[in-house]
Symmetry: C2
Subunit: 397 residues, 2 copies
């Protein structure tokens, strides 16, 4: 992680504006409610082994809650995981063998693609545009790769890092391709419940119900709190037993007190209220970042315009496109603002002209300050241009 | 798990004596202290992402605590894990490729051997005797396998399931063989701090310090509480970065509130007192089980005599040796006592004449009741002997 490698420097400047990490805002985490629940709920049943598939009270609460959303599920489809990351690990462990081809978005969440790579996958990066993964481009790229993929790893809503959402038409096309190729769609959607504008796009589970080729990975990390490490997968019942067996050999069960905390949070009805509140907060923050960027850098950049989630994607243009965002990072940190350079968000290091900015973790006035610092950093970088320059493989098409 | 497949039956008989599960006694889990710590410690830093290698406060507390034991460690050797199971998963993910030979004890902790198998390992079962793994037998078995092992999976103290401890001499021989073969020793020791009689045997880290071939897996599950899912690995600093990278792609970090809970528990000095107390409790329980078994079944069985941990291993002899412990399990459950049949504790289903009994989770009087029920079950099984009978591949030599 870039943040930790520069933590010494960062810790020397305490007021750094944190556009880098994909964590919820501190003030978006309901700590007082968690403490209240912990003091009343923790008991004799909190500290022994739980069921590998998850605490029944959490699965019940989750199924009840999801029945009120556009993506209902059922008890025999859910396995509770140690965050979304373990959901990805489970999908890869079950479906990927060394040498298998795995399609990933370009740019992508590189911790996710790294998990596929850790099982020996060969990654095929496929470009995105404003409607998400360019599914049209897939057949030709797959044909050039000489074999069909075993899995397609996609973040359909408010994609990390680009902020784009995969259109309904492309979702349908993708499901069709997955069936043609008998390949699994790893549907990683940590942000779907954080839509703050526009309309829900039908999820893969809705487009193709009861489909063993759709492996949906979900988490409470972004909507509630990442430190709990509680997420879930939503899979066809015939796949579920494989998931439970694989999880048994990974960590026996997810930590029980955190599952009870989340279950109680949902059962008391806090989740709906909480989500309403944070969607409003994140909507304001996205607007603040968009308008600050447009005011300060309007003609020098293009940005995506996410309808939810945490991130927007900034691409330098004109003369600024010659600046390496990897080199810019050090300058920016010295100026007091952090972000993730584009090259860290592509397995092959593309997008050195781009930046991932998290709008979720800073207040509008801090965002304004951060954008001013980013602008100063770009001005400094233009005066002392990056020598040599990293290879440019592409940008969001 | 056998327990869950029969949970319906078990739940119909609430007073079942639980010799099956390897969980600490409920009364050995310091729930009130946990609740007290949770209410004072949980705060703003409890719910965000933690460091992948573990919370610094827990690593500090752990290193301090272990400096008072026979197995001290250092900050640059420790990675906090989601229980011991994740430690095994990490070791296997890093070291094992499909087709690799992995030595396992016979009998063994089959969840551990299953993790190795899940990475494509071929398992070589090597017998145990009263001094643990028969290391003498290893070179010939390895030679017959036609290739050297990539890993040796061993539980050196109060082995699960046999209760035996690997002798010092054999540990030294095993380290030498590992070096000859350039193979890693997966040193899984969940019970080492639960010695209640005899003398500590030097650990692998003590026999061969700073050795990148020794991968030590530890956990708070047995000494504190399994539901927390907090453990650690103790590895050479040059291996540690591989562990951190692998864990990053598994679950990002271990759940933070549970790490803080354990850290605080150690920092307040509770762990030493707690261990003293539970060692005494488990010592009493082992004696109770041993004496009950000898009184009721003395001439019909052999049992191991563990100096710590949770389990003893019972082998039927004489006419009773014809009874399948897998078949006995159903009878015993109906009589109100649960155990793990031997065949479940060997990847190839050996030991159908043996039983794993957990003495840790029941009071002495419940143990007495359980042994009486077990005796009745054996009497019933002898009258209606198991038809056909499973193959007998071997027993503890």
């Amino acid at each position: 992680m870039i943040d930790s490698s520069t933590s010494l420097l960062a810790s020397q400047r305490h007021d750094i504006v944190r556009f880098a990490m994909g964590s919820p805002a501190n003030e978006a985490v309901p700590i007082d409610l968690f403490r209240e629940i912990a003091s009343s709920r923790l008991g004799a049943d909190s500290f022994t082994y739980g069921a590998t598939e998850g605490e029944p009270e959490l699965i019940d609460a989750l199924v009840d809650y999801l029945s009120t959303t556009s993506e209902p599920t059922a008890h025999d489809r859910v396995v509770i995981t140690a965050g979304g990351m373990q959901g990805l690990d489970l999908a890869c462990k079950i479906f990927i063998d060394p040498g298998d081809l795995v399609v990933v978005e370009s740019p992508t969440y590189t911790n996710g693609s790294a998990t596929a790579a850790s099982y020996g996958a060969e990654l095929l990066e496929v470009p995105l545009d404003a409607d998400g993964l360019v599914v049209d481009a897939l057949p030709e790229l797959v044909s050039a790769a000489g074999r069909t993929p075993k899995a397609i790893y996609v973040i359909p809503n408010f994609q990390n890092p680009s902020g784009t959402t995969l259109s309904a038409k492309r979702r349908e096309m993708l499901v069709k391709l997955a069936h043609d190729w008998n390949c699994v769609i790893i549907d990683d959607d940590p942000y779907g419940l954080l839509r703050f504008s526009g309309e829900d796009v039908p999820g893969f589970q809705c487009i193709s119900p009861l489909d063993p080729l759709i492996f949906s990975v979900r988490t409470f990390s972004k909507i509630l709190a990442p430190g709990l490490r509680v997420g879930w997968v939503d899979v066809d019942p015939e796949i579920r037993q494989y998931v439970i067996n694989a999880k048994q050999a990974m960590d026996t069960c997810t930590n029980v007190p955190a599952q009870q905390l989340v279950a109680e949070f949902i059962k008391r009805g806090y989740l709906s209220t909480h989500l309403e509140r944070i969607r409003f907060v994140y909507s304001e923050r996205k607007s603040a970042m968009k308008h600050s960027l447009m005011r300060s850098l309007g003609s020098r950049i293009t940005i995506t315009d996410p309808e939810g989630g945490f991130f927007l994607w900034l691409t330098l243009k004109g003369d600024d496109a010659a600046i390496s965002s990897t080199a810019l990072f050090e300058i920016a940190l010295a100026e007091g603002v952090a972000f993730i350079p584009g090259a860290a968000l592509s397995p092959s290091g593309r997008f050195d002209d781009s930046l991932r900015l998290c709008f979720a973790a800073s207040t509008p006035s801090r965002i304004q300050t951060g954008v001013e610092r980013l602008t100063r950093s770009l001005d400094l970088a233009r005066r002392a241009p990056y020598p040599g320059g990293a290879e440019r493989h592409g940008s969001l098409t």
